[in-house]
């Protein structure tokens, strides 16, 4: 078998994209009474949104850029807090096999629960939709990072820790100079999963809680029966998700080391 040319995938991508758009356009063209918009209608409404992304005409009418920013700020705050807790707890668990084994069943159960499932409980407890939305992101971001950090720290090569101990490093130095960089590739792999699941969780959280952002926008447009706008929002959510994933992929590459 000859090696595929590096650009071959682009052809496949193009064929599928054009095929998909054509079928979609044809399907919506045929049914006159249907309210499902075709790709051209979606492109038109997309163009409207994208040509003025940052306008602000009151709480129910904001530009798509502004809404994306709201979601991203919420994501950043919840994700940062979740990451901080997950990494610190992960380091502790990674260092203490007994604690790790004892707490692992809890982690496994908590990991299996959709962050959205926590929402009623959280809303009832904190009585604030804004904070609840942040907590949902927090819950979504914590588990993969925690599991990966604990695994990464537990599997750091004994030699590196021996060197740190011989050099009599204090704890903060040892953490920052040896433990975290040694476990960094595994931790970042966890962060990449975490940012993905946080982004997945943020849309329903915003929709249900009415917190300004892409999720809220999508629900609002559904209530207005603006299906073209709903489809546009779906595309934006997907694109942002891809960009976030690429960023963390890049981070993973920069943290990787070979022995």
């Amino acid at each position: 078998m000859t090696a595929p040319k590096s650009s071959s995938w682009l052809v496949v991508f193009g064929v599928f994209l054009i095929g998909f758009l054509s079928i979609w356009q044809l399907a919506t063209l045929g049914a006159k009474g249907s309210s499902l918009p075709g790709p051209l209608a979606v492109a038109r409404s997309s163009w409207e949104f994208l040509s003025d992304p940052f306008y602000d005409r009151g709480p129910n009418d904001k530009g798509i850029g502004l809404l994306t920013l709201y979601s991203l700020v919420r994501l950043t705050i919840g994700f940062s807090a979740g990451t901080l807790v997950a990494v610190l707890l992960g380091v502790v668990l990674g260092h203490n096999p007994v604690l790790y084994k004892g707490l692992n069943p809890f982690i496994q159960i908590l990991k299996a629960i959709s962050p959205i499932a926590w929402m009623p409980l959280l809303l009832y407890s904190v009585q604030d939709s804004g904070i609840t939305a942040l907590l949902v992101v927090f819950m979504a971001s914590i588990w993969p990072t925690l599991a990966n950090t604990a695994f990464g720290v537990a599997n750091i090569r004994r030699d590196y820790l021996n060197v740190a101990n011989i050099l009599q490093m204090n704890w903060p130095t040892k953490l920052l100079k040896v433990i975290l960089p040694a476990a960094a590739p595994t931790i970042v792999a966890g962060l990449r999963i975490s940012i993905g699941s946080s982004w997945v969780a943020i849309v329903p959280a915003e929709a249900l809680l009415g917190s300004l952002g892409l999720g809220y926008f999508i629900w609002n447009e559904w209530n207005n029966l603006s299906i073209a706008n709903v489809i546009f929002a779906i595309l934006v959510i997907g694109c942002v998700g891809v960009i976030l994933d690429l960023l963390f992929n890049q981070a993973a590459k920069s943290m990787a080391y070979s022995e």
Binding site: D159, Y160, N162, V163, N165, I166, V178, P181, A182, E259
Partner: protein
Amino acid sequence: MGRGKLLEVEKVSKYFPASGNGVRHCVFENLSLHVREKEFLSVLGHSGCGKSTLLNIIAGIEKADGGFVFLDRKEIDGPGIDRMVVFQNFALMPWMSVANNIKLAVRAAYPHWSREQVRGRVQQFIEMVGLKGADDKKPSALSGGMKQRVGLARAFAVNPRILLLDEPFAQIDALTRGVIQNELVRMWQETGITVFMVTHDVDEAILLSDRILLMSPGPGAEIREEIEIHIPRPRTRETVIDHPAYYETRNRIIRFLNRHTH
């Protein structure tokens, strides 16, 4: 030699828990030795005889099950920068450049130094091992020999009371090994740092050591013989081989090793 004892190992024992029946497997029992000030001492024995375990106990990264280790007449308890180790597999931080690996150690040894002082010391030892220009390389970009040069630079740069070498040249190809052995001798003489080395390489031990302790294989390993090497310094591989005492010493060691196989 009238020099004082720098390191004393007194009746140190180490056991590994055996599987199942609870009988402990004895690595060594009541093992004693000492290293004199400025001496180059080697412990020579078969692979797996427990000599690395002994070194790890002196370094403080493994705990003994009995006995004491004294450095400068003070009992050691845990690892310390006064007993810097050069590892067989180098143990460099792979995410750090050559310079940063050495800097990490210098910072730890001299926490109150300014940036300039630290940088100066790092440069000095990079040059001392002939790695000038490789400062920014990662260990993965270096050959085994170059990696161990970094290991030696890191170890000498912290100016330990005693340097512990754990088969430092075992993973380096034979041609490079000779060159780095010569560099080690030069650094040892320039700095006057006491060295404790474990090795299974007979010629390496004769070339480098003032004194060699022969260790029988475990379980229940013992230090059976002590050999003073009187070949004058500076030594090179050639002058050592040409010295009349060389073959006698070498044969004595080989006979010992053959007598005490597993």
